[in-house]
Symmetry: C2
Subunit: 344 residues, 2 copies
């Protein structure tokens, strides 16, 4: 049995309140008393009981990272692990703890009922001081519920609602830069493999593609747009649909899809970048080592995670603030070989 406040107090010859003050850095404790108490704390290895403290303070110092549709996709894409690491690191440095809730699909039991149950337990049960939401479809009911229950939360990825805080990378601009680069190289039949269009990132990258073309005075040919799902296989299938359209370049909304596309292009007997140039999005570690190295848009995923944590903790610790926080991190064009320039 670990020692309690009570026992520490007795050993130090003071009251529980005093020990509590020492633990919580309250200033009004005589230095000598404080030192004596600390000594006992060290000797006994006393550690405050988290549940007891939470019950008294109504705070847990735990935040949740919720990923509503944790399908396989997310776990073959390196995006996630990196995001998780960014979030975890930030939690560590703020002395918060991280609870991971994956509402996977297709596991035992009705998924939406399950999800509901989890929501009830974790959020209404006051397990968490706040939550981060990532990769939720725009119409996920969780947003409404969180607003309704008044739970502090930050969305990773843009969310078009005036009361919702989010952090995102500049997907529109990133996509635009990618396509503009292809335009500069002289391409005119540029196709795109989009992300899932029920997600903001998917929509925004498509929007960037459109903007690049129209601001050049080019028409957008809908036949050159194929929807993917951020998976390698999705990329392959989309590319297969695009091939008959004879594009000279393709902008894929993720590196993983770009890799799939390259495979299909080659299987068709064409060369990258000579016959079809390819640009991806993400700059995952693999991007620089595949053949040919991928020209892509780099996004600072771990910063996204740590920034989200920072915002969330701000909301938790300063609930009065009524400003809605929105952070958009910049993206960057990384030129490699897959677009036709032998750079780097």
């Amino acid at each position: 049995m670990p020692p309690t406040l009570e026992e520490v107090a007795k050993l130090a010859g003071v009251s529980r309140s005093t020990v509590s003050r020492v633990i919580n850095q309250h200033p009004s404790v005589r230095p000598e008393v404080r030192e004596r108490v600390w000594a006992v704390i060290r000797e006994t290895g006393y550690q405050p009981h988290a549940a007891a403290r939470s019950l008294a303070t109504r705070r847990t110092r735990v935040i949740g990272l919720i990923i509503p549709q944790a399908v396989t996709t997310l776990f073959t894409d390196p995006y996630f692990p990196i995001l998780i690491r960014g979030v975890a690191d930030a939690c560590n440095s703020f002395q918060y703890h991280l609870m991971l809730s994956l509402f996977s699909q297709g596991q035992a039991g009705n998924s939406s009922a399950r999800q509901d149950e989890l929501y009830q337990q974790v959020l209404r049960g006051q397990y968490l001081d706040g939550v981060l939401i990532s990769s939720a479809p725009l119409d996920d009911p969780i947003f409404r519920r969180l607003l309704q229950d008044g739970i502090p939360f930050v969305v990773v990825g843009r969310y078009p609602h005036e009361r919702i805080h989010y952090v995102d990378v500049d997907n529109v601009n990133g996509a635009r830069m990618a396509v503009e680069h292809l335009l500069r190289l002289g391409h005119e039949r540029i196709a795109t493999i989009t992300g899932p269009l029920n997600m903001c990132a998917g929509q925004d990258r498509l929007e960037g593609y459109r903007q690049a073309l129209t601001s050049r005075g080019l028409a957008v040919d809908e036949k050159l747009i194929a929807e993917g799902d951020f998976t390698e296989q999705g990329g392959r299938m989309a590319m297969q649909r695009l091939l008959p359209q004879r594009p000279t370049a393709v902008f894929a909304a993720s590196d993983v899809m770009a890799i799939g596309a390259i495979k299909v292009i080659r299987d068709a007997g064409l060369r990258v970048p000579d016959d079809i140039a390819v640009v991806g999005f993400d700059d995952i570690p693999l991007a620089s080592v595949v053949e040919p190295p991928l020209t892509t848009i780099r996004q600072p995923i771990d910063q996204l995670g740590s920034m989200a944590v920072k915002l969330l903790i701000g909301l938790i610790e300063n609930p009065e603030g009524s400003t809605v926080h929105r952070v958009v991190l910049p993206t960057e064009l990384v030129i490699r070989a897959s677009c036709g320039i032998r750079a780097k």
Copy 2:
């Protein structure tokens, strides 16, 4: 303010105890009363307060997944995300929650002091009912502390200590199958790129390599062994050291390293599998889509995760059991093109 037990009791015209019994499925409550209480619970949206409950029961229903050395490595390898998913799914189905603790290196602040602090807070603070440890080096101090503090834990990966519970895949046999396959194909100069040798998986796969050779009566040539670190770059560097030895085949202890090795082999003007055959380990999703598709050893990573959770919850809920649990899941040879057989 969410409703409390007290309020529900008042509304239902019963005592708190009765409501508590209803919530906890205690049998001795008259059906009609039970129904009345449930009605109030539904109407009010009552949810038990997690901290209050934990304080009373000494249980949190939260388990931790601790990864002591969460270096970048772990996050470029798909192993992790899959493990996490397996763990998360199992938690969901047992109605437990998952806390993720990454003790990353090189973050702000002295790493080992930080780690200590985290340990104190999370484990001695009774946040967790038990923990899973993954990817810890064999000499990590955490094992001793957990034993000492009497905290239920299960290691993901074999751990050679008589009182420690673990789950693992059969690394020795897997590696052995890989090398035996190469032997069957007629290779005799088989090199290996190992994992980090301070981790059990690294050691065991090397042991499998040795066993395959010696049981064929072949000598083990230490010059054909190069230590890697499970990263793509590590694989490349190891392969560079091996090339001068002129192996005709290489067994890499992870797919990611195998991919790096293939790159080096090709850059040297050699062909895979014609000049050098390659076999990997893991069967990550990428393995089947790289060029050439990778012959490899498949390990059931998500089962590893869910099995670990199952064991851990067993330990938590039945502390009396004094048997030490050890589960070793089978591995499987998956033949593709990189070893010289155009199968699949």
